[in-house]
Structures are given as structure tokens and as C-alpha cells.
Symmetry: C2
Subunit: 248 residues, 2 copies
């Protein structure tokens, strides 16, 4: 029997760890969310930059799978995709999944920087003015640039099923669901104004949410609620006065 994987991630936020949690849940892979258990935070801090383990990652999430200790979200997902049928087997398919996932990582990083445009070592409140400028640009320019791109990629996929790569669900679909969910939480007015602009992505997200294992996960206590310590944060003032262009 396989030893359960160990996921090391901040215990109170979805964050980047959530992309990994969704893959583990959909793949029906046994795992322990270490930092949410007793002594787990200590175990995690030893595994990140400045910690005592020689295999330390720069930052969480980290996945321990047997002897492997894997950091960087997209890297973990690539591993899970290959091991647990959450990605195509062909080299071209794997590279394409990884490419799309890295592009999702880019917009997630930009979403984070809407509330931390100056420094991760300062509170949001200390950079709220700059956040307003960055969030405006993100809502008006960046969200549509990225989501138009993913909608185009989805439309160009000739396979049936409505998934973004080939004819089967991959970890990239799970991540797109999480991206849309996070954007809707953080920028509800902008995303409402864009309503209908990305019908393919909307259907894809709905199909992901309806997967039996994902639906069970989302209804469970394992799914953490959105909050303002997370990557996707809702600060109403960041949308104030922002007028997006619903169509391209």
C-alpha cells in the first residue's frame, strides 16, 4: 500500500497550495495536510528557506511523495499529473499542460501583487494606495488579457469534452476552476461586468465543480474559506471606481 503523500502548506489559506489540494482530491490520492495537524507548522518551517532541512524549498507548497520532496506548485502538479492520470502521457501533452499551468501561475502572482505591489514584508494597509493603482490595471487590462487567452486556447482544442487539453480532464482544468473562483471572490464587480465574455471557461469551471470528488471536497471542512490573508483577497476599495470593458 502506498504511504500517503504529505502536503506542506500554510494551514489557514487556500493559496497556491489549493491547486495541489484540488489535484490530490480529484486524483483520489491519499494525503496528509501536514501543517493543519499538531506540530505541522514546525515541520513545514524546517522545510522552507532558512529551515534546517537540506532539501528545503524556497517556499511552500511542498509535496513529499516517498523519497521525493517536491517544491513549486507547477512542478508538483506536473509530478501528480504524470503519476495519477491528471495529464496526457505524450511529451507534447505534458509540455502543453505545464506551459498553461505556468501561465496560470503568472496571473496568480499578479493577483497577489494587487494587494502587495511594493513588498511582501509590509501589510496591505501600508501599501493600500499603490494597491489601488495596481488593482485597477489588473482588473481592466490583465484579467481580460489572460482570460481571453485561455478562452482562445479552449476554443482551439478540437477534442470533445470541453476540457482545455485533449479529451480528458487534466490538472490544468482544476487550476482554471480555482483561478476563476479566486478572481470572482477578489474582484466580484469586475467579474460580474465581464459576465459572458468567457463562456467556455465558465462551463469548464462548472464541470470541474460538479466532479463528484471535487464537489465532495468543496462541501467538506478540508476546503478552507476565502479570507484576507490569502492570495485572492477581497478589498472592496480596490474595485471602487474601476470601469472594465466587458467586451474586447
Amino acid at each position: 500500500m502506498m504511504e500517503p503523500y504529505k502536503l506542506y502548506y500554510w494551514p489557514t489559506i487556500q493559496g497556491r497550495g489549493e491547486f495541489v489540494r484540488l489535484a490530490l482530491e480529484e486524483g483520489d490520492v491519499p494525503y496528509i495536510d501536514v501543517a493543519r495537524g499538531r506540530g505541522g507548522m514546525k515541520a513545514m518551517t524546517e522545510l522552507i528557506a532558512g529551515g534546517s532541512d537540506p532539501r528545503a524549498s524556497f517556499a511552500p507548497p511542498i509535496l513529499q511523495a516517498g523519497d521525493l520532496m517536491i517544491g513549486q506548485t507547477a512542478n508538483i502538479l506536473m509530478f501528480l499529473g504524470a503519476r495519477h492520470k491528471l495529464a496526457p502521457r505524450s511529451e507534447a501533452g505534458r509540455l502543453w499542460c505545464n506551459q498553461l499551468q505556468l501561465t496560470i501561475a503568472d496571473i496568480v502572482g499578479e493577483a497577489h501583487d494587487t494587494h502587495h505591489p511594493i513588498s511582501v514584508n509590509m501589510y496591505y494597509e501600508e501599501q493600500a494606495r499603490e494597491s489601488k493603482s495596481r488593482a485597477r490595471d489588473f482588473a481592466i487590462e490583465r484579467i481580460p488579457k489572460y482570460l481571453d487567452y485561455f478562452e482562445t486556447v479552449l476554443r482551439a482544442n478540437q477534442s470533445r469534452g470541453g476540457w482545455i487539453v485533449g479529451s480528458r480532464l487534466s490538472y490544468v482544468d482544476l487550476s482554471l476552476f480555482q483561478l476563476l473562483d479566486g478572481l470572482r471572490y477578489a474582484f466580484p464587480k469586475a467579474m460580474a461586468a465581464y459576465e459572458g465574455r468567457w463562456p467556455g471557461l465558465q462551463r469548464l469551471a462548472g464541470r470541474v465543480a460538479a466532479r463528484p470528488r471535487i464537489a465532495a471536497y468543496l462541501a467538506s471542512k478540508r476546503r478552507l474559506a476565502n479570507n484576507e490573508d490569502d492570495v485572492f483577497r477581497h478589498y472592496p476599495e480596490l474595485e471602487q471606481g474601476v470601469r472594465v470593458r466587458p467586451r474586447g
Copy 2:
């Protein structure tokens, strides 16, 4: 005979494409730097978001290798690493290289944001004030956090040779060279103040620069000069009054 690869990247900057160029050069892989040739910019814009090709990437660099069209720097390097002996063959070695490369991508993204903290759609001059705050944090907090981490990883590698993964040069070593080179160009005062803090990385960068193919490349016209349209930019005002802490 293998058809030369085609690299699509901005023709006047090192940028993210340089990590790919270094791997192609060290791997002795024939390639065409498409956008630097006649009609090349048009060919490239068709391959990026908003372009007409269904295999479009969100942004350059893009590598065309036979039937494969590969986007995202770390993804391209993973491909080149496997094909051209610039990475270990083992799964653990490949994942570790990719993890380190993605961490390099993170600091490169942060280096870019020191001159574009608010919007990529505005000129530096329009966000120079915010750049000052972000650059100060980057020089004082982020550079040492990342480089201390890479120095620790390097020291923890028990294999001989002084490379960061195993006992042979990998694309991660090439990227670390490029990272240090870029940081020294963009933040000369801070990097001079840190002198001696990362002796392993400094030696590694020196050994990369002395590789015959890399040395020939760096001395050739193919190596573009640093400039202020690039990811690493030197704006003296961004270092003004910044006092780094030379030791951790």
C-alpha cells in the same frame, strides 16, 4: 540532420529569452533567433496572445522544435535539459532542476517589477516613485533571501564539480549565471556591498562564463548588451540611499 530549432523572442533584449539562448549555446544546438531576422517580428507576434496561430503562447520566449511549439521559459529549459544533456536523467533530478528554475523565474519576475510595480502598460517614468519603494525592498530583502537560499542549496550538494545539481552542469547553472549577471548590472551598488556573501554562486558563475561555448557566445554579437528596455535595468536612482546588510 536535425532541422534547427526556432527561438521566438524580442530581438533587442536579453530578457527571459536569454535563459533559453544560454542553454542552446552551451548545448551546441543549432537554432535560429527568428525575430532578429527579416520578417521575424511578424512571425513572432502571430505566435503570442492575440496572434493568429492556434498554438499561441501567452508571451515569448517560444521554442519551435520540429512539431513542438513550447512556451514558458522554465518549460522550454526542461525540454532542452532532457533532449540535450543539460539536466539529470532521473525523475528526482529533473524535478529538482525544474523546481530551482521556477524559483529563479520568481526572482526574475520580482526584478522586473522593481521598475514596473504598478503596470506593464505604463512606462517606468510613470511609476518611478513606486519603483523606488519596490526596488529598495528588493535590494534589501529579496536579493539576499533568494541568493542565500541558492547558496545553501549549492553547499548542500555533496557531488563534486561545484554545480548546483549533481556532478554535471545543468541549465540551472546557466540560469544562475544569468541571474547574477543581471543583478550586478541592475543593482551594482547593492551587489558590491554584498560582495563575498555568496562565494559558491560567484565561483559557479565564473565557471559558467569560462565554458568554451558560453565564453564564445558572450564575446559574440549574438549576446545582446544590457539596456533599459530589458528585464534587468540599471536606474541609478533606484539604489539611491539604499543601505543593504552585507551579512545575514
